[in-house]
Symmetry: C2
DNA sequence: AACAAAAGAAACCGATCGGTTTCCTTTAAA
DNA sequence: TTTAAAGGAAACCGATCGGTTTCTTTTGTT
């Protein structure tokens, strides 16, 4: 197995463990046993557990946004439809068997300091998603695309928390109805 | 110091430590040194760390809702004004020096299993807040009080996450403007 | 002043933590 | 086929984890 893929192999096995059980609660020993590698190998590719966590979060950012964008582009025919499709993506996600909330919200809960490297990755992840939403709003010829993206982002975050903390599997549907209001408002005031 | 107050003493000192550094990352040794009690005493009043965590979350639920309700009732003159005042409360909270997000969202991140006792306390905390919002909506003669409370709850959760993860100290202002839309919508369709 | 309960200090427990080192086997390239 | 790097297994490291025990001091009550 080549170096690059071995590194990826470890990351992909560590990811679901961190996601399901948290970062502090997941030990290195468990990760290597699940990945089928030795400690020596893990520490060859990652200089510390913090380094591994950072790499996992970066990977998760890539995977998650790729899925979000792909599904949104697939489901939405118009730019306006794509904005609404964001919530269909959320709905499907919330109803997956292995849904444990947003990994970045969860990471921010354990690394509360906003200056912490892991927290920064979380903040940047959210920024990238907001930028994508804004690009969709722009595509829909909405003048106040920044305002709308901030609004839809709040709705998405709220739906995620409601789904995870309260176990409300239909929170994305509720948020979608709310999103319609703001999209129509933004379109009408253009 | 009487038994009851000593128990409360430990809880009140453990609370900010858990809030700031998380649950798994906060050790018993740190808690007793901050509280100025011995391990023996701590384990006299709490049968385990999990038990202490549960007690801290229960205490936090009481303190937080008391503050939310008091401030909301103080700021809002009408029932409608109280619904909006919820977001003024959030705004003040987000701008406190020691704001590290919602302790219940954070706890749910570490105890992801929805059946976990600590997660259940978090879910119930959110239910109680939704019930309070609903009572305000009812007071404002809004027929669909359940729907509105669910909507405002999503906005509040979204604002909290945005404030904590992205450090946006004005997210409550944005959410408040969004809330106005739904309050007016609920009032007009009555 | 005598006494019992409460609580502090600290040693101690086994387990686990993140991380390093040693030794041996597998692998792949020359 | 020789050789060297890669990687697995596991011992080992000091530190810390949650939790218990022992022993001593403090406290409050009679």
């Amino acid at each position: 197995m080549a170096s690059v893929s071995k590194r990826e192999h470890i990351i992909s096995h560590a990811l679901p463990l961190f996601y399901q059980n948290g970062f502090n609660a997941t030990g290195i020993e468990l990760i290597i046993s699940q990945a089928g590698v030795s400690k020596k190998t893990l520490y060859k590719y990652f200089k510390s557990k913090d380094d591994l966590i950072l790499s996992v979060l970066t990977k998760r950012d890539e995977i998650f946004r790729r899925k979000l964008i792909d599904k949104t582009e697939f489901l939405g025919k118009t730019a306006e439809g794509k904005l609404l499709a964001l919530f269909d993506f959320l709905h499907a996600w919330f109803n997956e068997v292995n849904f444990f909330g947003c990994m970045f919200i969860n990471a921010s809960a354990e690394f509360t300091d906003i200056e912490h490297p892991s927290h920064i990755v979380c903040s940047e992840h959210k920024n990238k998603i907001k930028a994508y939403i804004k690009s969709l709003a722009f595509e829909a010829n909405i003048k106040k695309s920044s305002e709308l993206s901030a609004q839809l982002n709040i709705l998405m975050e709220g739906a995620i928390v409601e789904a995870h903390v309260s176990g409300d599997k239909n929170s994305a549907i509720k948020a979608k109805k709310m999103a319609e209001v703001f999209i129509n408002l933004a379109l009408s005031t253009d």
